[in-house]
Symmetry: C2
Subunit: 481 residues, 2 copies
Amino acid sequence: MLFTIDRSQQKPVQNQLREQIIAALMKGQLVAGEKMPSSRKLAKDLKISRTTVMIVYDKLVEGNFLVAAPRSGYRVSDIAAKTDKPPPMNPGAEMPNTVKWEKWFDSRLGAQRNIVKPLNWQDYPYPFVYGQPDASLFPLPAWRECSRQAMSRLAMRDWANDAVMADDPELVTEIRSKLLPKRGIYADRSEILITLGAQNALYLIAAVLMREGMTVGIEDPGYPDARNIFDRRGAFLIPLGVDEDGVVIDENVARSEILYVTPSHQYPTTVTLSPERRKALLTSVAENNALLIEDDFESDTNYRGDAVPALKSEDRDGRVIYVGSLSKSMFPGLRLGFIVAPERLIKELRTLRRLMLRHAPSNNQRTTALFIAQGYHLSYIHKLHQAYGERWHRMAAALNTHLPGMTTAPRFGGTSFWIKGPGGLDSEALAARALDQGVVLEPGAVHFMEPAEGARYFRLGFSSIALDRIEEGIKRLAALL
Amino acid sequence: MLFTIDRSQQKPVQNQLREQIIAALMKGQLVAGEKMPSSRKLAKDLKISRTTVMIVYDKLVEGNFLVAAPRSGYRVSDIAAKTDKPPPMNPGAEMPNTVKWEKWFDSRLGAQRNIVKPLNWQDYPYPFVYGQPDASLFPLPAWRECSRQAMSRLAMRDWANDAVMADDPELVTEIRSKLLPKRGIYADRSEILITLGAQNALYLIAAVLMREGMTVGIEDPGYPDARNIFDRRGAFLIPLGVDEDGVVIDENVARSEILYVTPSHQYPTTVTLSPERRKALLTSVAENNALLIEDDFESDTNYRGDAVPALKSEDRDGRVIYVGSLSKSMFPGLRLGFIVAPERLIKELRTLRRLMLRHAPSNNQRTTALFIAQGYHLSYIHKLHQAYGERWHRMAAALNTHLPGMTTAPRFGGTSFWIKGPGGLDSEALAARALDQGVVLEPGAVHFMEPAEGARYFRLGFSSIALDRIEEGIKRLAALL
């Protein structure tokens, strides 16, 4: 009995059967000319409908894996004979480890601190995790429709080939004409580069611009992945303080050769850089002949109607390198982001990207371009705004009631609240105790250059928690505090 | 007149109209409540069918962009009012360039030599280009079907979230159970990492293992992208000679701390490493406590039934780092590859990949897994074999007739022939003259560490040239020589 059906699997029964027949054929368990069990018998043995078996058999005939012979049923086609049989496993080749790997590695990489979420956070009733969108809101039928269009024989001519250096011109057009203007940015095609998500954008920028010992200012608290990426380049990291008006403009800003900031919506505190600070920051950068990386993540989450244009829109020296994300407003697994910067820098980044990965997958670039061009992105953003806006208000109210004074509501929207717990709080310990109550939260220490400074802080994301669970979750948390 | 239809565009008329309405809405050219032209009038003005206009209008109603009012036609919905209007362009913000960019850059990156193809190679009748598959052979309906399955609401739960470190378990299963055994490799899940194509695999390996001044042996001639990637790490590159038995085992092999080789099918000469050399190479690597990177590109192109297992299958010390490509056997724009190596190294590579780009796009990983599991990959490979095999025989015959003695037919298949022209030939000049005759070929110099050594060589790819064009193309080339 070669085949088994497991009804507890998510995979449809048809797929299970088809995949097992293909696997048997490739392993040589089914050979060319061999007679397949009759649909009646197989259906009975596997306790599935005969129609299912017949559909699978017919599809396999269509794919030339089986041959249907009149009155004698189905036989394995000669594709089985033409398929390379795996050579036997080489004795002793189970990958022993005689290599002392540690001596080959750079110890810096392994020592980096990262955000860690419980892998099974979806199993908890109050998951205040950050950065995981509510997949049920995503318009799958629209994405499927765009994907189908991107996979037409005609469109495929554009993207099947290795584009080497180039990005999908249609995606560049959409970013340029629809996404950037909303942020006050008007860029030429040659000033835009598509990346494998915003994080890949930061990696490319760091690899091109940062060198051992260069002074790089980063917000503290700030985005741990950016810190880790810059650290990997051997940069000397300078902490830039953050208060309720955003990053503090002081001598640390002046000392930085490159600055990394999240002005519209500081990560992780959610504060928006004040107009005065914006001016002061750009002035300081110009006076010190420095460069500024603006990470405009979550630029599409603004529930209060007072969106602040990107800092890049006020850049009069070409010193601002703008990083945008498409994953945040589509789905993170898509891994698409982009950089807007002066043409000469984009050219250098493109040369490095060619070396690193050539380009983002062409089919996803085209599908995303269609998704934006046909308005699906716009209506998805509206849907997200509504859903996240409601949760945002519910969060603000619950926090105000149960944890008064511990947070500043984000001015620009976003998908989280940053909480300053009471002095002496150990948010790591709190997170562990909260899990017992079904509440998932993110301790703050990982966002700080000095972990001890962040012990009293934590973050509550609300993109993955149901509206009606918010109040109870906050209440349980308050009880623990 | 806001809208225009351009019939010379590939884009379907429906899409053109829909996209222009969305664009007008986002730019504020259409405002909430505004009456749309009647389908009759718009159809007349644009010279398109009224049905087309009605379908577009109905779809826009479905997407809440338009509202259909009984007897009064279609109006713009209030989504237009809720959409952020772009702030005006900031005067003086057209990205001037006051930054002296060159001083920020590493001059090494800009100086690298790359393969350059005429961008419009598809316009020439005899395109002997390399590495561009024949898109007409790709089973688009099967890919669409898998893509549709990967985009089910249920499956999306698996891949919509940011997987951070993880790869799609189903793709790992397929690589492990169907692709690797054919190469004689039996690996554990923890020994496999998915990358953004084989080139990204090399970049990751170099970034983890290579340091300034480390001695790295590369085949000469060899793969220019690998040479460039290792050069970017500051490695000291040692040329390894190549003859008709593959890479020559000499003191340069012994001196290399890391070796990069393409044993099954040497790039670009197409020769297969002989059994004696295979043994000698592995022995030398073990004796010198070195590491070996095996690039098994085009492992699925073997028209002669004598596939050689991967070197990795004989690795008894865990010193072979295997790099495989899925782009070659699917479509290059997909950008999927993988690494097989000891678990400890994979762990380190995964940590770096997390920093660089997190992971390959999840939807493509899942679609590819289904494409392999359901046998479509297998039958596509068969189809490719047949088509490329025919072209391979035609090429071999034509070269034998018109350019006798100038090439060794590849033992392992592949998609190109490597030609040693007469002494004193300048293949760059030949390529330029051949273009005038409609023939595209690739000069050999870029594959050599010393470009002058490669002047007499060139490469003829046959994956993109029609079978019946081969002989005439070679004939024209012979006439030029």
